[in-house]
Point group: D2
Chain length 288, copies 4
Amino acid sequence: MVAVKDADFSNVDAVFCCLPHGTTQEIIKGLPNNLRIVDLSADFRLRDVGEYEEWYGQPHKAQDLQKEAVYGLTEISRREIKNARLVANPGCYPTSIQLPLIPLIKAKLIEVRNIIIDSKSGVSGAGRGAKEANLYTEIAEGIHSYGITKHRHVPEIEQGLSDAANSEVNVSFTPHLMPMSRGMQSTIYVEMAPGVSIQDLYQHLSSFYENEEFVTLLKKNEVPHTRHVRGSNYCFMNVFPDRIPGRAIIISVIDNLVKGASGQALQNLNLMVGNPENTGLLYMPLFP
Amino acid sequence: MVAVKDADFSNVDAVFCCLPHGTTQEIIKGLPNNLRIVDLSADFRLRDVGEYEEWYGQPHKAQDLQKEAVYGLTEISRREIKNARLVANPGCYPTSIQLPLIPLIKAKLIEVRNIIIDSKSGVSGAGRGAKEANLYTEIAEGIHSYGITKHRHVPEIEQGLSDAANSEVNVSFTPHLMPMSRGMQSTIYVEMAPGVSIQDLYQHLSSFYENEEFVTLLKKNEVPHTRHVRGSNYCFMNVFPDRIPGRAIIISVIDNLVKGASGQALQNLNLMVGNPENTGLLYMPLFP
Amino acid sequence: MVAVKDADFSNVDAVFCCLPHGTTQEIIKGLPNNLRIVDLSADFRLRDVGEYEEWYGQPHKAQDLQKEAVYGLTEISRREIKNARLVANPGCYPTSIQLPLIPLIKAKLIEVRNIIIDSKSGVSGAGRGAKEANLYTEIAEGIHSYGITKHRHVPEIEQGLSDAANSEVNVSFTPHLMPMSRGMQSTIYVEMAPGVSIQDLYQHLSSFYENEEFVTLLKKNEVPHTRHVRGSNYCFMNVFPDRIPGRAIIISVIDNLVKGASGQALQNLNLMVGNPENTGLLYMPLFP
Amino acid sequence: MVAVKDADFSNVDAVFCCLPHGTTQEIIKGLPNNLRIVDLSADFRLRDVGEYEEWYGQPHKAQDLQKEAVYGLTEISRREIKNARLVANPGCYPTSIQLPLIPLIKAKLIEVRNIIIDSKSGVSGAGRGAKEANLYTEIAEGIHSYGITKHRHVPEIEQGLSDAANSEVNVSFTPHLMPMSRGMQSTIYVEMAPGVSIQDLYQHLSSFYENEEFVTLLKKNEVPHTRHVRGSNYCFMNVFPDRIPGRAIIISVIDNLVKGASGQALQNLNLMVGNPENTGLLYMPLFP
């Protein structure tokens, strides 16, 4: 923190802030007013500071800044991000979930009740801290759920979906830890609105993301694999009819460390400083 | 097949039949009438031969035998298995799904509409055939869904749940392929019946499986991991409250090659011939 | 330690001691004289206390006990172990290396100069401590050497081989960390003694281990795989001709947590108390 | 092949040839004389067609072309490659082995007798063919040696080392299959020439590769990890003193699919057509 205090930002337009959750609020308060910031922590993601305090267990230390923070889901809020001083970069699960759901909810194509989200993440989402639970021997060749309905990304997901619905949305969200380093899949089970078909969902997502470089609706029936986006900033998604009439299954995959973290942060910063949005992001997926 | 024809079964009471799906019906027809059989294929699992033909794409070749086949979910149909001549050993997904759901449906504690099943399986479920899709390089460090709502285990799951409900049940079932050899988890999202609480589900499963050696309801809040049953015949399960009021999340884990295949087959055969049910099955889980 | 002090050993014949390296010496000193002990730590493996202090960086705290400690490589020192009060259970690498080399050195079939040992171990060999280096993300999908020629198992290996040779032996030993939980392979490159053939090595190992339950020389040309001994107390080995005339390649595999640790400890304890040597050890390898 | 015959190469300077071993010779014979080619197969790697026929079990079908083929180890034969019409792109093992050994042998710093090479490769080296041996379930969580001293890369390695030594060199070469998709390590055990020290080896490699972008001698004592070059065209190497006086341990790592295959091919083609050598090759390693 001393280092940050003494740093000379006079020739700097914009910075990333990559500090642990809970430490960013105070540090950003101390930065020059004209410095533009993409914050990778969760510190400014929740508009409601009361909700922040409930889920993160500590008081919010920069409530004034919170008011001007823009939630940085690039394809959804491009204009606001372009002009923002402070961008709260989204979490990995919320990115994979909101990218397909927000357009469908805004267009009233799906019901907002009983949205069931079953997400699967690689271990790198847990960071590089030395915890027994993340040792190779604990993770390899096995899976389990964790933070069932209580993961800290819940309020972030619900904030985005509630905004899109213009009403309060509560979701069922169960993350699972996978024996792999990178990659995230969200399998989302929804009810379609009356009279809506799978084809309608497909068409809407198709036109919504038509001109997007990093979000791709796959061809019909093509199943997204996390390995097809590994190491890249892409989000691949698709929609499938359910066996139960009136229901749909939505699948989206990202690399949790790229589109789910630093890749989207760079995409946002490019947008803020006027770079082509894909600058530094043209890495192809690495397979195998 | 010649080998089977010429075999001398005169001193044999019971056999396993471990042949590929679709080849068993004819072979079993040719076996002596008094020989008792546990069939590990899918050939006799579906009571309705029309349904068999629809999902397996070929006519049923032993319709008379089908009538006497008993579906071998040990803890659910112990008495019928004990006296059966022909046991159709259950599939891996159906085992992991029906063990928690059948008792809850029979007791009318959960609704049978909108049951959402998100299952995850190790690759060994696909057998040992040389397919590009199952190469190490295709599977490691990535996940994907497959057979979305169209997996052949759907009618088997629905048959068991419909029997329990005494009405036709359709489920949403999406299997996922995991980068691991063994292990299977089913994460099941259900609505509780009016007035029913998580505590009621827990209590009912607890007393239902109280005296079972191989099915264990974990302590409250304890999360089942597939690695905790690896190499063993155990099924671990638990129930969790959902964030959406009135809903519950049920998780069960098995080793797909043991309780989901040969382990349950041996358990059934033990039962049929009067051995202690756990004979040959006392392998502890192997962790790590 | 208080717990150990207060324990009542009056009805106990023999115990395992599973404490961290460096803590066992003092504890065992405090145990009743008639209690027989298999110590799984490295504390009593090196006969020369000076060497212990050099490699482990601390003074030996039970030098009297050291004198009566028997190095517990079961198949090599069965008689001594049977009568020992204190057995120092061998390390995993030394077990995999000494089992093939000691009989060949004793029979003067191989030279003791320039023995090159390239070993590969699963991560569980590093224990369950929460270290960044052993996180899933650090280990999966990559390999590296470590402790090159300086691993603490070097003096233990050299002690055994020097005893067999009746002269001082120095070896080249490079361990490698594998992206797997269990399993250990040692690939050993040796010069055969003048006039000796691969066939001679094969014959000698074959007759030496002929009646052993847990050490198996595979059929000619059959390659040992670590996965073929996973979860079991077996050591599989074989010998191969090298392309360079006069040289041989010896390969042995074990499960580092079983024959390389607790399995061999139980085998030794069985021997000490008069149980059949395989009591509790009849687990088949788990594959896949 | 029809496709190749009918192709219009009139505006093409250079091509990659990515066909299976054994099929390339005839195809390249049919290509226009002025077309420059980097062949990724093994078809033109061995200068001695007799040796080709011995190791690959079939007659050489383009013996004239063989005479002009240049073995494409970029950093070793840059000048010849620049002017070559036909470049035989090296195998993955030979690349990882020759890069450190050729400079040391040329400078007479190591002995050429008794070079022991213990190599470890990811499964992608075996290609994408559907073989049971390469299924996830056969590979995960286990290791084994294969092709012991008989792998087809042996003559390719020996050809390069013999050229460097100006005398016939035979090596001991044992490849091992690792449970990972990409990555290759060669651990090489050598005798230093009389009077030579580790420091001499280090200095020589350091100055030899000083200006190379893709070959890096690490800092002293730093251990190369395959994961540090994953997805990149880098070769990292280092030298370590052995415990046995006069001996050294040399370690090199590459990504077998990049520097060990298509990356080096592109590097060679860049060189041939006058591009900057790193064109298209500036991918950073992907970790984790």
